[in-house]
């Protein structure tokens, strides 16, 4: 793809965004979710979702560079990203890589359009960082798996239509060798979702219970007992591809913060802090170009995904930590009068940001991956 063609694409994205009035996002979680779903649908109808997905499956058949351009232009316009984050950036790429023709025909179009929202059933109460010790079981009976167990920290499960579930299908094999990757309809009898209220006050993540849930064998993604490789593929995308999107969201937050600072009186110390956060976000933008290059060359998963994940989490926490500090003594009880800063949003963002070094594999897990697989240091085990 020639740079002029990409620049033309950027120009068309910019003018579309300028004409399309991105929705304001309400504080209330439920109302915000509705607004985001609507925005997802608008984006899809106009050809801005699935930009780098195959045309025959409902995508636009363009390159990842095009997709990155739209993400960047959305950030520039202050527009939110489409609602179905897990489907588009985490589970979706694995579906594309490992799905059969029938699975692709069934799942991709509604995933892209936002008609079906996905969640990711990986973590369990006793399987967090040690994901391979998961205990959710799926027993094959004729042409169905019977799924039993519990997942936790499942983001957006309450809003999801489908869940990518890791389940143990062969209890006799060593930890990561007996796991399969199942696509589970959340409306199946026996699936119970219980939202968990987070420190932010929102209930974005959930517990998910499976009690004798019957899953057709045709919903097995990839080989039977071979799900671990798929899980690593999904996590690789969560750590790098999702980072592209999250960076854009951080840039929108930064822009909002800066707009508020410009309205008020600020001293030189504010300039230094806001400048430092800007430098960090620019570093993330530089890393995202490398992530695109790796994806284009088929280098996912890679230990460099963990580098992106580590940098993104640090960047997010620095940005929202900086914003929090600007609230001064009003960190826990934000002012609503006499200030241009949206204190309530800042505190929520700060608290939400603490999850960035936990989800998708904790910071400590990522550091170990970098140490062992990128630097080649001796394994501890």
């Amino acid at each position: 793809m020639t740079p002029p063609a990409l620049e033309a694409y950027r120009a068309s994205a910019r003018s579309w965004l300028a004409a399309s009035a991105p929705p304001p996002l309400p504080q209330d979680y439920r109302l915000r979710t509705e607004a985001l779903r609507e925005w997802h649908s608008t984006l899809y109808r106009s050809g801005w979702v699935g930009i780098d997905w195959p045309r025959e499956l409902g995508g636009q058949g363009l390159s990842l560079e095009h997709a990155l351009i739209f993400i960047e232009e959305s950030a520039r316009a202050g527009a939110p990203q489409p609602f179905g984050a897990i489907g588009l950036h985490v589970v979706g790429p694995t579906l594309l890589r490992y799905g059969t023709g029938e699975q692709l025909a069934r799942f991709v179009e509604p995933l892209l359009s936002g008609k079906e929202i996905w969640c990711q059933g990986f973590s369990e109460p006793d399987a967090g960082s040690d994901l391979a010790s998961l205990r959710t079981r799926a027993v094959l009976e004729d042409d169905e798996f019977v799924l039993t167990g519990q997942k936790i920290w499942t983001s957006w499960a309450d809003d999801s239509d489908w869940c990518a579930v890791l389940a143990r299908t062969d209890p006799d094999r060593a930890q990561h060798k007996g796991i399969s990757y199942l696509l589970v309809d959340m409306k199946t009898p026996g699936v119970t979702v219980r939202p968990i209220t987070q420190i932010t006050g929102d209930a974005e993540f959930c517990e998910v219970f499976f009690e004798d849930v019957r899953v057709p064998r045709s919903n097995l993604l990839g080989p039977l007992h071979g799900g671990w490789e798929l899980a690593m593929h999904t996590l690789g995308h969560e750590r790098s591809g999702y980072a592209l999107r999250r960076r854009a969201e951080l840039e929108v937050s930064y822009r909002n913060l800066l707009d508020a600072i410009r309205l008020g009186d600020s001293g030189p110390d504010v300039a230094v802090r806001i400048g430092a956060a800007y430098v960090t976000l620019r570093g993330l933008s530089a890393l995202s170009r490398r992530a695109v290059r790796r994806a284009r060359n088929g280098e996912v998963p890679s230990p460099l995904d963990s580098v992106d994940k580590l940098a993104l989490a640090k960047g997010e926490q620095q940005l929202f930590g900086t914003a929090l500090d600007l609230l001064g003594a009003h960190r826990a009880a934000p002012l609503t009068e006499g200030t241009s800063l949206d204190g309530e949003q800042i505190v929520k963002d700060y608290l939400h940001g603490r999850a960035a070094s936990v989800y998708g594999g904790s910071e400590q897990i990522q550091l170990t991956i970098v140490a062992e697989r990128l630097l080649g240091l001796p394994r501890m085990r």
């Binding site: 840039e251 580098v307 140490a371 240091l377 501890m380």
Partner: protein
Amino acid sequence: MIEISASDFAKEFEAAAARLLDVQMARTPIREQLEQSGWSEPLWTSVVDAGWLDVMLPQHLGGLGLGIGDVSGIFTAAGRYLLPGPLFDNAVAVPLAVGQATRDKHLTNLIAGRKRISLADGAASGQAGDSRPVVRDGRLFGSVDLVRLGGAADHFLVVVEEPEPTLVMADAGMPGVSLHRRRTFDSAAEHARIVFDGAEFEPLFENCKGDTARAAAVVAELRDAARLLFSCEIAGTARHLLDSAVLYAKEREQFGRPIGAFQAIQHLLATLATRQITLEAACEQGLNSWDSEPASRYVAATTAKAIAAEVGRVVGEGALQVHGGIAFTREFPLHRWHVHVLGLQGRYGDQHTIAAELGNLLVGKEFALW
């Protein structure tokens, strides 16, 4: 590794530069000279003979007429091998200046005569504006501190600040120019303070309105280039520090196993690697956006320098920690790389001064963010 999509040459130049430095820096006479004085004439001659100073030189002056992206690999290699020499000055500042000067004859002659030139820019050390060089009654007054390799230069490419920034040439040997060497901990970069007290000079631009704007634009470009290429040099130096620490962690044993098997060491090194890779990516971003409009060029080069300033220092400190007591000795050479990044950290602004500079721009007015 820094990869630049816009250049086919950068990697080749970097590999060739590394090969040359690998051989030259291992030669006993050169090592002895560097240890004694921090300067080796044969080493610098080999760099000149290898054509490093010709990469960006315009073709009509016998150069290759290539750009910043192409030459950047040489800076990474120079950082990795701690090449002492006024590399930025002669390989980048001089070609940029001569390519755009409207009175270029004098500088063209100096280039043809292989004269050694050091850039004297008060902005490099953040020197107070009122002490920087000015022209009064047709003569040069003021001073520039921390001129790299000032003592080894025949001529100075001087940034004059008032009223608008412009560039002039001054002969190191002429009356009114005096040099005061600074004591330095950095074996790869001797520093000097240059004082101009009524010195004669050769302007590179005419004294007319069009030329004033042109000169100011060249000075801005030169400072962006300095920020970006010193970032590349820091990336090379820090890469050496990180690689050394990783290698040491694999070899050094305590408690019956390599120290790199301990999580405390692993996480320290992985954190450094994450920072280092971010720096290399920021250098790429700066190099790839070099030919965009001046505002984007400025932002990309400036953020790269802020990241380099912080990362170079942190990697140096972390590498020392991993090595333990041995790295605290003069005999073990790690300190040379560590101190070299300290020298570059503050050049054209460290992470704090740049954060303030960018922050004031961001808070003060509408400013293209990304």
